[in-house]
């Protein structure tokens, strides 16, 4: 009937009819495809969100600060340490991470921390000082005193994947201060708890605001949409992406709770870029900007973090201070208007500066050279993916105090040395390593004069000839044969020509170009005579010297006579290894920067216990160390006595390479080994000997470190004998000047010197005395 009804000509046209049919078909197909798309997307969203595995880079911690009665730490130094850990000074203890400065004491609310061996609870303590350092530690509100207080260790970096640079510290919603999600919702997505993934109200409001302003001032994306975009989609601004994003947001809300979405958002959001490292999530951002955990943030700090969500590169708190402060204050205003903070809190908060820590953000990425060493040592122990994704917690040996001292010395002394020789600014470089004598712990590493620069690590990656730093190992090899050598054995400091395997003639010279005739063995080392050393080396043989190096912890020594004079390429860390074996009386402990590894839940995974092996005999090591003490007492490093504490004994050796290209010093007391290298990256001459370059840094460093001197207690197989310096024979009260020299028992000098009373009774002396 209807068909017969007369119609306008337009609809009767067959063309139009076909068009309409086509349109209908197209619509149906489109709807079907869109439905299929949604179904697929729904599956996608579910599986992908369920499968979201946070990239959880391993977190690297410094060694914890241990405070105990008798520790040589002043209250000022302790305050400095607390500040470094992000503790706040105030008038009252308002929670963990705060302290009060009192007269002669500090009252501290410590942070809880789960260590490898025990979980340490939060504690309120009073630390008292005495004239030597820490006097006592008392638990506040009780009579209990503590023998030892361990602070939470500093987070010094993370092992993030190199391709994405994605770094984060995972947080749980339940552990986050409630003000943070409140503020985030208030600012970014007011209707978060009522919308279904997209917010029409939000869109209208944003559109209105943008129209009124004439440009984009407000985004309409909900937190859910933002999360979807960050997790699964690209950054392009196309309609297709927008539709996908909105659809996925709606679908996600059907499967996942609001809290789960919020928690994911808190951990995913991009909050800054630190060179190659992308700062994801509020947990890391709190460390990165404020150097403290999220739960210690104050309202103005929370407001700042929420303020920069809008665009962390534009709103960079370290660069755009004014812009960020304005937006932070806007956020604070919204917080106050919503009643989330009181008017008083608001007034106080807007007055505050941003409070962002300088540099690359507190502990994180602050010690690139050390973290580089940790990374290299870990690489041999774990799969890369485990390090970048599993949230492992790595406990290292870095001592921030020692590290700071080393950094300060190198960053101030290298430019000073450079100036003194009128070198082009920035051409002289320096590097250094400090280790513990016992336990082989790497305490500090500096890879260049700019310690914050995460580039070429000269402490580990540069291998340079070590020059005379090699000499003690030749002398030690000789002293291992007590029947042939002792510290007094005269060495021949005369010219020598050697034919090398390549046919060339090698004619080593003394540094002063002089010949010294016969010199006592210890003096040849103290004065670093090349010719005497080569004669001695040839006598004991390069093979044996190479073995001594290997026993000390380095086995890449070329079997050439030039090795006696240090034609051996080593890094400062390698040198620290072999010197620490001597420093610890002949016990080789592989230098390690890692102590323990825990899973992200705090379960112990691995611990790296001290590993030591007795590889060099104690007596000869003691004798060699005695000669190395003479290097400082009366030899090439005598300058150091002008800066080192009087009455303390240290041992070491200068090193200088051909044409003054490298200046080295390596030495130790009873608790610290320190190695300093000074040179140029282009390997051109610097004009510095070991004594005029590296030694200057080393001496002041050991002083700054308050390094303990050597206890001169000889081991059981060594006997100290007073000898006449002229003849090297036994002295007694008849001799005017004597030196006490250690000898291996059974190989001490058998004869009395001519000056000794014991000699004077001989007929020859009796006759001599008559004719005097």
């Amino acid at each position: 009937m209807a068909r017969k009804k007369p119609r306008s000509g337009f609809f009767q046209s067959p063309l139009v009819r076909w068009l309409l049919i086509g349109l209908g078909l197209a619509l149906s197909v489109g709807l079907l495809l869109f439905t299929l798309f949604l179904v697929k997307l729904d599956g996608d969203v579910r599986t992908r969100f369920a499968g979201v595995r946070w990239v959880l880079p391993a977190q690297v911690y410094a060694a914890p600060l241990e405070v105990y009665p008798g520790a040589s730490l002043s209250l000022d130094q302790l305050r400095h340490e607390l500040d470094r850990l992000g503790y706040r000074a105030g008038d009252e203890l308002v929670g963990p991470g705060t302290y009060i400065v009192g007269k002669g004491s500090l009252r501290i609310d410590t942070r809880a921390f789960a260590f490898w061996d025990a979980a340490q609870p939060e504690q309120r303590v009073e630390v008292q000082a005495d004239d030597k350092g820490i006097g006592g530690v008392r638990v506040m509100g009780s009579d209990q005193s503590l023998d030892l207080l361990r602070f939470d260790p500093m987070l010094i970096g993370s092992i993030y994947p190199s391709h994405s640079g994605e770094d984060r510290v995972l947080v749980k919603l339940s552990e986050v201060p409630p003000l943070l999600p409140q503020t985030l919702i208030l600012v970014e997505d007011h209707n978060f708890y009522s919308h279904g993934g997209v917010s029409l109200r939000g869109i209208f409001r944003a559109a209105f605001a943008n129209l009124r302003a004439g440009h984009t001032v407000q985004g309409a994306s909900t937190l859910t949409q933002q999360l979807i975009k960050n997790l699964f989609l690209s950054n392009e601004r196309t309609a297709k992406r927008k539709i996908t994003e909105a659809s996925m947001a709606i679908l996600l809300e059907r499967h996942v709770s609001k809290d789960e979405i919020l928690e994911a958002y808190l951990n995913e959001v991009d909050l800054g870029q630190d060179g190659p490292r992308a700062v994801h999530g509020f947990g890391l951002a709190s460390q990165y900007y404020f150097n403290k955990p999220l739960n210690e943030l104050q309202p103005h700090e929370i407001a700042m973090l929420v303020a920069i969500v809008k665009g962390p590169s534009q709103y960079n708190p370290r660069r755009a201070v004014k812009l960020v402060t304005e937006r932070r204050n806007l956020v604070l205003k919204m917080m106050a208007d919503a009643g989330n903070i009181t008017p008083d809190e608001y007034q106080e908060a807007v007055q505050k500066p941003l409070g962002v820590v300088s540099g690359s953000g507190g502990g994180a990425a602050r010690y690139p050279a050390f973290v580089d060493l940790v990374r290299k040592q870990l690489a041999g122990l774990y799969q890369e993916a485990d390090l970048t994704n599993e949230g492992l917690r790595i406990f290292t040996t870095l001592d921030p105090r020692v590290q700071e001292a080393l950094e300060n010395r190198i960053s101030s002394d290298v430019p000073e040395l450079e100036k003194s020789r009128r070198m082009v600014e920035g051409t002289l470089q320096g590097a250094g390593v400090v280790t513990s004598v016992e336990g082989g712990e790497v305490l500090a590493v500096v890879g260049g004069r700019d310690a914050r620069y995460a580039g070429f690590n000269r402490a580990i990656d540069t291998r340079r000839p070590i020059g005379s730093l090699a000499k003690p190992f030749t002398y030690l090899t000789a002293l291992e044969q007590p029947d042939k050598y002792n510290l007094q054995t005269p060495l021949d400091d005369s010219p020598i020509d050697l034919k090398l395997p390549n046919g060339q003639i090698w004619s080593p010279k003394n540094y002063d170009r002089q010949l010294h005739g016969e010199v006592p063995l210890y003096m040849a080392l103290a004065k670093s005579y090349n010719l005497a050393t080569v004669h001695l080396g040839l006598d004991v043989g390069i093979g044996k010297v190479k073995q001594t190096f290997a026993a000390a912890g380095f086995d890449d020594v070329p079997e050439l006579p030039s090795a006696f004079l240090g034609a051996i390429d080593m890094s400062p860390l390698d040198v620290a290894q072999i010197y620490s074996t001597i420093a610890s009386s002949g016990y080789l402990t592989p230098l390690l920067a890692i102590r323990a590894v825990l899973t992200k839940d705090g379960q112990p995974l691995n611990r790296y216990a001290f590993k030591l092996k007795h590889t060099l005999p104690e007596g000869p090591v003691y004798l060699t160390t005695w000669a190395m003490r003479k290097v400082i007492e009366l030899g090439t490093a005598h300058w150091a006595t002008s800066v080192l504490p009087a009455g303390q004994i240290y041992a070491g050796k200068t090193g200088t390479t051909e044409d003054l290209r490298d200046s080295w010093f390596s030495g130790f007391g009873s608790d610290r080994v320190a190695v300093i290298w000074v040179g140029r990256d282009d390997n051109k001459p610097t004009g510095f000997e070991g004594a005029t370059g590296a030694l200057r840094i080393w001496g002041k460093l050991m002083r700054d470190l308050n390094a303990k001197g050597i206890e001169p207690l000889p081991p059981a197989d060594v006997e100290e004998v007073a000898v006449d310096p002229l003849s090297g024979l036994r002295a007694d009260p008849g001799c005017g000047e004597t030196v006490t020299v250690p000898f291996i028992r059974s190989a001490e000098p058998q004869q009395y010197a001519p000056c000794a009373n014991a000699s004077k009774s001989t007929p020859l002396n009796w006759i001599k005395s008559i004719f005097k």
Partner: protein
């Protein structure tokens, strides 16, 4: 007898505490000399005209003496922090948590690396954990730092004997045990 020896040792420890700030002093010999290990022969040296001849002592190894050596870690210069870690570690070992003891003792070494009692306890913890190589090395280290203290050395030789036995080195174990017994006898005879 034992009490006298202990009193002497404590008095000596006090004296040495006055003499030097840290470590044991071996300059004062208030204790008695104990029988020594056999001597090694000393060859004659070359004679230089005008020089008198020194007659080497019959003893070339240091004698075992009680001197003023500390019996226990309490008698040493160890501060409260090291003592506390040491006690906690001994407690952990007794409770079967030797890995924890190891970590505690390493903290003690970090604070004071030169206390022979700490190294001895560390050797014990290594031994508990079946690391006999490490146990022997740490015991040797303890002996090196003990500077002739027979109370420490006896314990170290017993640990070394156990470590060698665990490795299947029976000969070495017997030697180490003999050395431990020698010292123990010498101490008992005092």
């Amino acid at each position: 007898m034992r009490r006298t020896a202990a009193a002497v040792a404590v008095a000596g420890a006090l004296l040495s505490g006055c003499a030097t700030e840290e470590g044991e002093s071996s300059t004062t010999s208030t204790g008695s000399v104990l029988p020594a290990a056999p001597a090694a022969g000393a060859g004659p040296g070359a004679i230089i005209p005008g020089a008198g001849t020194y007659i080497p002592p019959a003893v070339t190894q240091p004698p075992i003496t009680t001197q003023n050596y500390p019996h226990t870690i309490q008698d040493t210069s160890a501060g409260p922090a090291v003592l506390s870690l040491y006690k906690q570690a001994q407690g952990a070992r007794a409770a079967g948590h030797s890995d924890q003891a190891e970590a505690l003792l390493e903290r003690a070494v970090h604070i004071d690396g030169r206390n022979p009692f700490v190294w001895q306890a560390l050797a014990g913890a290594h031994m508990d954990l079946g690391h006999s190589d490490q146990a022997e090395s740490a015991a040797q280290k303890s002996t090196s730092l003990a500077r002739g203290n027979p109370y420490v050395e006896a314990g170290n030789w017993r640990l070394i004997a156990a470590a060698r036995q665990a490795r299947g080195d029976s000969g070495g174990a017997v030697q180490a045990q003999a050395r431990a017994d020698d010292i123990a006898r010498a101490l008992a005879a005092n």
